[in-house]
Symmetry: C2
Subunit: 146 residues, 2 copies
DNA sequence: TTGTTTGCAAAGCATTTGCAGAGCA
DNA sequence: TGCTCTGCAAATGCTTTGCAAACAA
């Protein structure tokens, strides 16, 4: 996760202004590092301290932060996009989505790098990003099967 | 891809009726095996021969076929769901999505099985499905970079 | 015949956009 | 000050739903 100062620098570099709304949205992600917040989630959290903020502003800010690669826009297939801080290094993690409790777990892994190399060699496709989701049952839900 | 007779049997087994609309939608997928059709795509194709069909019927039929695991509902992140025949065997393929021409290529691969075993061992999460998307540039678009 | 299925139109949701006023630099 | 940003409301695009008529079995 980038430092707050670093984020501000990156915004300024693209001539984006540092507004209170943008600050508080960034802070929301810093305060919820382990979560995968949707625009609506962010809106609900931010409204507590800034009741006048508009949902459209949240969407616009998330767009900018994703464009600057500060946030990553992810899609768990539940009909809304979610956002998390980009990993600075190449260290990828995958998402394990429980089909029962719907919680999302993370799993650190680098194995996909070798697969990307294989694909590039065999098909000539140049990969710049990937998204891997696993669906199944978390250990708790396996115990409490009905 | 399941035989048409087999599909009808599976529909009947769940007390779904074999209607002309359902038949023609299934046929559309049989005629477009290599494509990833959206509901709107199917609707446009089917309207040629059955102009009276409704888009809602297409959606309802796709839901049923996905529920019966005849079709697989996939999400390329372009704001609409797409459908393709389920693979009968475990033979998985991944999707390579070109960020320039937006075409979707397929890549056959089984390597994820070993990754699933590792995850299960390390985290206790029991995986029943996965979805892997690679984003990048196809060989053609790499040549014609502007 | 009878419960499903269909087509239509309206509703639902997440997200985007237009616009006039507010505010950062 | 000048141009970006914001909040609001309306619009958008995909998908779902309610309902009465049509239809498969």
């Amino acid at each position: 996760m980038p430092y707050l100062e670093e984020i501000k620098t990156r915004l300024k570099a693209k001539d984006y202004k540092i507004t209170p709304q943008r600050k508080v949205i960034i802070k929301t992600f810093a305060d919820n590092m382990e979560k995968h917040l949707s625009a609506e989630d962010v809106y609900q959290i931010v409204k507590d301290t800034n009741p006048e903020i508009g949902l459209a502003t949240v969407y616009r800010t998330l767009d900018i932060l994703a464009e600057l690669q500060i946030l990553k826009k992810i899609d768990f297939g539940d009909g809304r996009y979610r956002y998390e801080f980009c990993n600075e290094d190449d260290h990828h993690h995958h998402h394990l989505i429980c089909l029962k409790c719907e919680r999302v777990f993370e799993f650190e892994d680098d194995l996909l790098e070798s697969l990307e190399a294989i694909i590039n060699k065999k098909s000539g496709f140049k990969i710049v990003d990937h998204q891997l989701k696993f669906y199944g049952y978390c250990s708790e839900c396996q115990k409490s099967k009905e």
